[in-house]
């Protein structure tokens, strides 16, 4: 077949490149889908877990580029190694947090492999519901962690997917209340929000606002930093200029708090404006200790997946009925960092 329409495809060098690239990608792909033992029989449709058979739990996370989900995965792997006789773990993440389609695909793949349970941190609180519904109809237990599915959509579809996770709004309120103690009524504050389409980002903003209202602080500006350090840096630098009397900034995650802190330094206002973060990532611990960042909030990512997996196993073995479970949220201040 030398007369290929796409003549460049028949060039041997090109074929070799493409061929080796595909092999390489396949090898990389195999390498990354860890804890590789093959999941159960793909034909099982109704009752995926037979008596005496070890169930497979699929953990579907958001971006593994995010420290929060890295910690979550490590927590899950640790739990799995301690309970390796109870279940097999397959963990997967998507490339970036906005990649909703890829996560839908992942859920379908996991359902196709007839796993016993899917524990999912959805990238979108609505768009992932239909694929999860299909998985449930195939007899797979689904547990929702981290980012809560939209209640209205669940109700309209007559679905009950249990949620195991922290109350982001409550966490943000804790941080806001702590900040309020350092300020007086009428002081100007600003919020740097997470990505505008993220449920947890919206909840954190609401929690900050709850605290601001309760303490009669004045919210003068609230804009998104899209979860990123550099973006938050730019946005907050502009906010600082337009609101010279700003007393504090509440950031929906620690990466953005780092960006805000850098903006303060550049403007020579370090110490004059208080910075509050969220997530308790390693990078901010020293800054909380030194007082550069007033406080942050720990949602215990490592335990989050563990709770979800444990709960999924309980549901599979019919020990638990699906209801929501709240996980702890802790305020981290200078006194908590040693």
């Amino acid at each position: 077949m030398k007369h290929c329409r796409f003549s460049f495809l028949s060039r041997p060098s090109f074929q070799i490149i493409i061929g080796s690239a595909i092999c390489l990608l396949a090898a990389v792909g195999c390498g990354s889908s860890d804890s590789g033992s093959a999941p159960g029989a793909p034909t099982a449709k109704t009752d995926t877990v037979k008596a005496g058979q070890k169930p497979t739990v699929a953990l579907v996370m958001k971006s593994l580029a995010n420290e929060f989900f890295q910690t979550m995965q490590k927590g899950a792997e640790k739990h799995n190694s301690e309970h390796s006789s109870d279940y097999t773990l397959i963990s997967n993440g998507i490339k970036d947090e906005q990649d909703v389609a890829k996560q839908q695909e992942l859920v379908q793949q996991m359902a196709g492999q007839a796993v016993g349970a899917i524990v999912i941190a959805p990238a979108d609180s609505k768009a992932l519901i239909p694929v999860c519904e299909k998985a449930m109809k195939a007899g797979i237990a689904v547990v929702n962690i981290d980012n809560k599915f939209d209640r209205d959509v669940l109700t309209s579809r007559h679905l009950a997917i249990p949620f195991v996770g922290p109350d982001n709004r409550k966490g943000a309120k804790l941080a806001g209340d702590y900040l309020a103690k350092k300020l007086k009524a009428g002081d100007e504050v600003a919020i740097v929000e997470g990505a505008p389409n993220a449920f947890n980002g919206i909840q954190r903003k609401l929690g900050f606002e709850d605290a601001i209202k309760a303490a009669n602080l004045k919210l003068v500006d609230s804009q998104t930093g899209r979860w990123e350090t550099a973006e938050a840096n730019k946005v907050f630098a502009a906010m600082l200029t337009s609101h010279p009397n700003l007393k504090a900034v509440l950031c929906a995650n620690d990466n953005m708090a780092l960006g805000a802190l850098a903006a303060l330094k550049a403007a020579g206002k370090k110490g004059a404006v208080i910075v509050v973060g969220f997530d308790n990532i390693t990078a901010v611990r020293d800054l909380v200790k030194s007082g550069d960042i007033l406080c942050t909030v720990d949602q215990h990512a490592d335990q989050l997946a563990t709770f979800g997996i444990q709960y999924a196993l309980d549901i599979v073995s019919k020990k638990a009925s699906p209801v929501d479970k709240e996980t702890p949220v802790d305020l981290i201040t200078q006194a908590d960092v040693k």
Partner: protein, 315 residues
Amino acid sequence: MKPKIPPAVLEYTGLLVALALLIAFFASKAPHFLSIATVRTIASSVPDAVFLAVGMTYVLIIGGIDLSVGSVVGLSGAVLGVCLGVWKLPVPVAILVTLGVGASIGFINGSISVRWRLPSFIVTLGMLEMARGGAFLATGSQTMYVGGPIERIADASIFGISLPFVCCILAVVVGQFVLVRTVFGRYATGVGRNEKAIRYSGINPLPTKIAVFTICGVLASIAAVMNVSRLASADPNGGTGFELQAIAAVVIGGTSLMGGRGTVIGSFFGVIIIAVLENGLAQIGAQDPVKRLATGAVIILAVVLDRYRHRSASI
């Protein structure tokens, strides 16, 4: 008789008018926009984008494109973070290692696309993924707080102007000079305009192409150093989307996506226009959808205006 205007002034008139209009608009909307604080904020935030734009200008002029620069910023920043935070290397050594990373990636980009005559679009798209993966590996997917001596780069100032800003202006001046006044610059323009003609006149275009990608990589690493020193932290997601911002700035500045035509100074104004737009929108408290709509519209508008300018110039 038309009054004689120096061609250099004419070249940038459109950009300066656009910039003036933007500034006037925001000055009327935001009470603190016309202030030293705004100038300082913009001056401290643009250097990384300017370095990227200088490199991207050359790449576009030779008729290529480099989609990997954002990821190279991420990877270089990660390497810098590891050098300083984990290996505790002295700052100059750490910076050299970082620049080495950028140079190698640029060299690989250029060599692969030249050796197998592949479009740089696809080679650098692959590199975009690889460099980002490398950044996650190097940092263990965690944001690293760096701080310490590296912050002094962003803090330093010469005659009251921040060191990174002085450096980026220097890069623009040198970049423009090399483009217009040196053999290398002429070759680069020639390669973009008509590679065959260059070949037939007995010049091998390959070294020029590889050199341009390598320079682009080094400049991306310099941008990363500026970024890390300003933010005092190395974020594995740092630089995401910078490639598109750089391309937008360069094209706003009048460089052709088809190659063969462009100026580094124009790219600098392109960066400033985008920075003023970002800062102004944030100061008036525009919400995210509005910001995106406005930024996109300004990019298209600027390029359309540029098209008119060049049409009238060629008649």
